[in-house]
């Protein structure tokens, strides 16, 4: 989070504001001046409209300078999402693993302490278990 970023809550949702992303499209305050009023401080008044209306307008922000989350998600899911591992299967390519993971080789030995790795799915890599790009040469296809 940038030090200039701000957040505002009404207890149900929190609206996040990233000034660096704002291109002053003015959508938010033309739609809902009761909540988004750049002449006031703080410029976001979370009591100015019902939650649903705030969400509707936040979603209109063209640059995502404004975003929101339900507070119940912030308390439970959000920290996990940011820190847990992510596994991505690439079509006709490898499987990419990033984030918080440990990897063990076929002998059960812990290998690879990098933050991200790319594992072969085609069976033809010369650097198993890692991908070395061989899937392109062999024309591997796979969801």
């Amino acid at each position: 989070m940038d030090k200039n970023d701000k957040k505002y809550t009404n207890g149900e949702i929190t609206v996040f504001w990233k000034p660096a992303k704002c291109i002053h499209a003015t959508t938010c305050y033309r739609e809902l001046i009761e909540v988004f009023n750049p002449r006031k401080r703080p410029w976001v008044n979370m009591d100015g409209a019902p939650t649903e209306e705030i969400i509707r307008v936040v979603r209109l922000c063209p640059t995502q300078a404004l975003s929101f989350q339900y507070n119940k998600d912030i308390e439970t899911e959000k920290p996990r999402e940011e820190h847990q591992a992510e596994v991505r299967v690439m079509e006709d390519g490898p499987v990419i693993i990033m984030g918080n993971f440990v990897i063990y080789d076929a002998d059960g030995k812990e290998i690879n302490h990098k933050k991200m790795t790319s594992l072969c799915r085609c069976g033809n890599s010369n650097d198993l278990p890692y991908c070395d790009g061989m899937h392109r040469k062999t024309g591997f296809t796979g969801k």
Binding site: P79, R80, E81, E82, H83, Q84, A85, E86, V87, R88, V89, M90, E91, V95, I97, G99, N100, F101, V102, I103, Y104, D105, A106, D107, G108, L119, C120, R121, C122, G123, N124, L128, P129, F140, G142, K143
Partner: protein, 68 residues
């Protein structure tokens, strides 16, 4: 919040000998169509290139072998 984030165990990725990739624990999984599943899961991903139900392992490696 810091304490909470550090308490999450890392996902466990195991290269199974002459077999698939086993991934288990709490993680986000995105398939090649972009569909995401989250939370605790245990997956076996084909590593021999021969599975008929990719990305999942279907045991084909037993027939064609996986180089290690």
């Amino acid at each position: 919040m810091e304490n909470e984030t550090t308490s999450i165990s890392p996902a466990e990725v195991r290269i199974l000998k002459n077999g698939p990739i086993l991934i288990k624990g709490v993680f986000n999984f995105r398939d090649s169509s972009g569909k995401i599943t989250s939370g605790e899961q245990e997956l076996y991903l084909c590593r021999c290139g021969g599975s008929a139900s990719k990305p999942w392992c279907d045991g084909t490696h037993n027939k064609i072998g996986v180089p290690d």
